[in-house]
């Protein structure tokens, strides 16, 4: 197990290297530091001196990949690529193009992001599973009455289930922007139940978090329920379920004692993948509700064209993704004893 984890961690190094090279190409080769300096200082009437100063300040004044003027190992280390990548791999993100310390910013902003994302995920999971179970239950209550597997025909349960699917598709077809705008308008402005946007430290944050979490959960119901329903149905079709029914267990008993635990395996491992990424926050949610998390941090960086921050966030995101993949593999062994890591 430990051996496996170590190997996976080593394997992730070339991956992160690839990400780093890709972002480097995107940020420095396509656009030279001169272009960036001009962008930051304003397009027109920029003197050569100002550009050189800006590059000096932000450490872009060395060649990109190969420094001919330096001695020995300096030929490689005295380059933008080396200096910037080493910083990223050591999680020293340096200063942003506007002069702030990125590492400190990230540490401070990760918690509000998590405060929105974690409850949204948990409550969303619970709600979606409940709805999916309900739909499967309706379907099955109909089957057991007739004793034949004939969904999609007439019958109250099947009709309810069909309505549920259509409702899911309708909910899926609405852009998340409308959920947010509508939710803010109805709950925040017309009913005045909670503040429309903002954030506060400590427990005072709760009243600001209710609305984003609620909307986040609601906008995910359509696709989530549909997805979990297919997972449950796949499980319901298996032989052990028939055996359980044949033993004379009631529909609810089969569903909760046999189907649910088995269907939880794909559901849980699917959740584990996204767990580390929760730190990154949600871009739209945070900027709509002006929550000072990493999502809004990224958006601000994109809007002010702050390359240093965007690069740091890309790297951080990839690291978290790799961790998520590793956690998924480990969680497989924990929930499913048949899986062995080797």
């Amino acid at each position: 197990m430990t051996q496996y984890i170590i190997r996976r961690l080593l394997y992730s190094l070339p991956l992160l290297m690839g990400v780093n090279i890709l972002t480097f190409v995107l940020f420095f080769v396509v656009n030279s530091p001169d272009d960036m300096a001009r962008m930051q200082l304003g397009q027109k009437h920029v003197t050569e001196q100002a550009i050189a100063n800006w590059k000096q300040q932000h450490g872009y004044d060395v060649p990109l990949l190969w420094n001919d003027s330096a001695q020995g190992g300096g030929k490689i280390t005295d380059t933008v690529f080396y200096q910037k990548s080493v910083g990223l791999f050591l999680f020293r993100f340096g200063v942003s193009d506007s002069g702030r310390n990125i590492g400190a910013d990230i540490k401070e902003r990760a918690w509000p992001s998590l405060a929105v994302a974690l409850p949204t995920l948990m409550i969303g999971l619970l709600v979606n599973i409940c709805f999916a179970l309900m739909m499967v239950l309706f379907r099955n209550s109909y089957i057991s009455k007739d004793g034949v597997y004939a969904a999609g025909q007439s019958g109250a349960g099947a009709a309810l289930e069909h309505a549920g699917i259509v409702l899911c598709v309708i909910l899926m077809s609405i852009s998340s922007l409308f959920y947010i705008i509508g939710g803010q308008f109805v709950i925040g402005k017309v009913l005045r139940l909670v503040p429309i946007s903002g954030y506060d430290d400590g427990m005072a944050a709760v009243k600001f978090l209710i609305l984003p979490v609620l909307i986040g959960v609601f906008s995910g119901i359509g696709s989530g329920t549909r997805w979990y329903r297919t997972l449950f149905l796949e499980e319901v079709g298996k032989d052990y379920v028939r055996t359980a029914r044949a033993k004379g267990l009631s529909e609810t008993q089969t569903l909760f004692r046999h189907v649910l635990p088995n269907a939880m395996i794909p559901i849980l491992t699917g959740v584990v993948v996204v767990l580390p990424l929760l730190f990154m926050g949600s871009l739209i949610m945070e900027s709509f509700f002006s929550i000072p998390g990493l999502g809004s941090y990224t958006i601000d960086a994109i809007n002010s064209q702050d390359f240093a921050i965007v690069r740091a966030m890309v790297f951080l995101g990839s690291v978290l993704y790799v961790i998520g993949l590793l956690l998924t593999d480990i969680s497989y062994t924990l929930v499913d004893p048949r899986v062995r890591l080797s």
């Binding site: 070339p14 656009n31 852009s175």
Partner: protein
């Protein structure tokens, strides 16, 4: 005639679809799922709605320079027909069917004095002398007139078609699915005719901040949505198919390299990769300003780049599916038999593997479409979507979002974007479901 980059790709897409259709015509394994789609009411109705959108999008993709034009602008066929809508700009916001402006200003009275009030609109309801009393009857009358004209037009065409049809096709037309489809066509055509009939006289969906007709904006946005939904797929498909099949078929180092590529791309958060690339495009366009002479060319280039970037970020999912399927297929008896008989690897890939993974490709294309249309709106909101000057639902939402705080609420831009987007995405989602049911061998077995 001016052919923009996205136009050219759209034409290419149409040619590809037509060629595929001709190639697959009459093939038995394609016929059965197609018939299943044809029998499904939901499937056919959503297809009709989609085709209606596609038709508008195509009209908007034929660009030319008007001969009598002095402003060096490029317009499309749709713009040409919507000239009154395009040119009937007001000063600022006005509500749907309003005759007066949204905000108060000083009005010069006929007797020379000035008064603080809501001025009459320049174009909306201009033909009315006394808007307070005449407006509602006039709207109703015009709407009914338009509806009647549209309805009679479509009935005429249907009768014409009926007369021209052969006897065996007539029976097909009487099936319940065909009746539903005809009813939907009837409703769509007569309502859009009524809207077109009303729009020169009123701003049916109001006007936006700079006084542009919202109905026109919403209709123009259809093309942007469709382009993003389809061209992205066109760009990503070759990559996904070639890499996926090669990785699954050859395994070994080819597989390792391809897996490495897509895991790397996958591990970068999609939005950030898009943002980074769009930032680059922006910088590039800012430093090469002379290459983009007209606004529409600029917007078009950016749209194309957006499609490419979305394509690069979204091919990995399909690639992984295809790799897994190919891994399974290469162990099948018929592939083994082919290679035992000495068929070349290239031929096996083309003749045995490729046709057998096509259903996965088709399903994922249809499924991706709606999510891409939705993604466009979100990306435009973060300013990394389409060009701010081009028409898109995302830009409409973005522009209208801040006005929700105003009193009275400026709701019409949002509503128009919502209605159009919802119709397109819902139709696409429903159609995707039907296609998936028909083509997915796992699903067709048990339902």
């Amino acid at each position: 005639m001016v052919v923009l980059w996205t136009d050219a790709l759209i034409y290419l897409l149409i040619v590809v679809i037509l060629a595929l259709g001709l190639h697959l015509r009459g093939k038995e394994h394609i016929k059965r799922p197609l018939q299943q789609i044809g029998r499904s009411k939901i499937g056919m109705v959503s297809l009709v709605v989609l085709l209606f959108f596609v038709l508008i999008g195509l009209l908007d993709s034929v660009h030319f320079k008007p001969t009598d034009d002095t402003k060096n602008e490029i317009i499309s066929l749709l713009d040409y027909w919507a000239t009154p809508l395009r040119e009937h700009g007001e000063k600022t916001y006005s509500a749907p069917f309003a005759t007066k402006l949204y905000s108060k200003e000083m009005i010069a009275m006929p007797d020379g004095s000035m008064q603080w009030g809501y001025p009459r609109l320049e174009f909306g309801g201009r033909h009315l002398n006394n808007p307070e009393t005449e407006k509602i009857p006039d709207i109703l009358q015009k709407a009914l007139y338009g509806l009647a004209q549209g309805a009679s037009l479509i009935v005429f065409f249907m009768l014409l078609m009926w007369g021209l049809l052969a006897e065996q096709h007539k029976r097909l037309m009487l099936s319940s699915t065909a009746k539903t489809v005809l009813a939907v066509v009837f409703v769509i055509v007569s309502f859009s005719y009524a809207l077109i009939y009303l729009s020169p006289y009123y701003h049916v969906f109001g006007t936006d901040k700079v006084g542009e007709d919202v109905f026109y904006q919403a209709v123009k946005s259809i093309r942007t949505g469709l382009v993003i939904g389809t061209l992205t797929t066109l760009i990503m498909l070759p990559m996904a198919i070639i890499f996926g099949i090669l990785a699954g078929f050859f395994r070994g180092w080819v597989d390792d390299v391809i897996q490495y590529i897509y895991t790397t791309l996958n591990s970068i958060p999609g939005v950030l990769l898009i943002a980074a690339s769009i930032l680059m495009v922006q910088v590039y366009m800012a430093s090469h300003e002379s290459d983009f002479t007209s606004v529409i060319v600029r917007a078009d280039t950016r749209l194309l780049f957006l499609c490419m970037i979305l394509g690069v970020t979204s091919w990995t999912g399909l690639c992984r599916l295809l790799r897994a399927e190919t891994l399974k297929l290469r162990e099948m008896e018929y592939v083994q038999a082919a290679s035992a008989l000495g068929v070349k690897q290239g031929a096996i890939l083309l003749r045995h593997i490729l046709p057998n993974v096509m259903h996965i490709v088709l399903i994922s294309v249809v499924l991706d479409f709606s999510s891409l249309v939705l993604a466009e709106a979100v990306l435009s909101y973060i300013n990394i979507g389409v060009d701010p000057t081009s028409y898109s639902w995302g830009n409409m939402i973005n522009g209208a979002r801040l006005e929700m705080a105003r009193e009275p609420v400026v709701w019409w831009s949002l509503t128009a974007a919502f209605v159009f987007m919802f119709a397109l995405v819902l139709a696409a989602n429903l159609f995707a479901d039907v296609v998936q049911d028909a083509f997915d061998p796992r699903r067709s077995g048990n339902e």
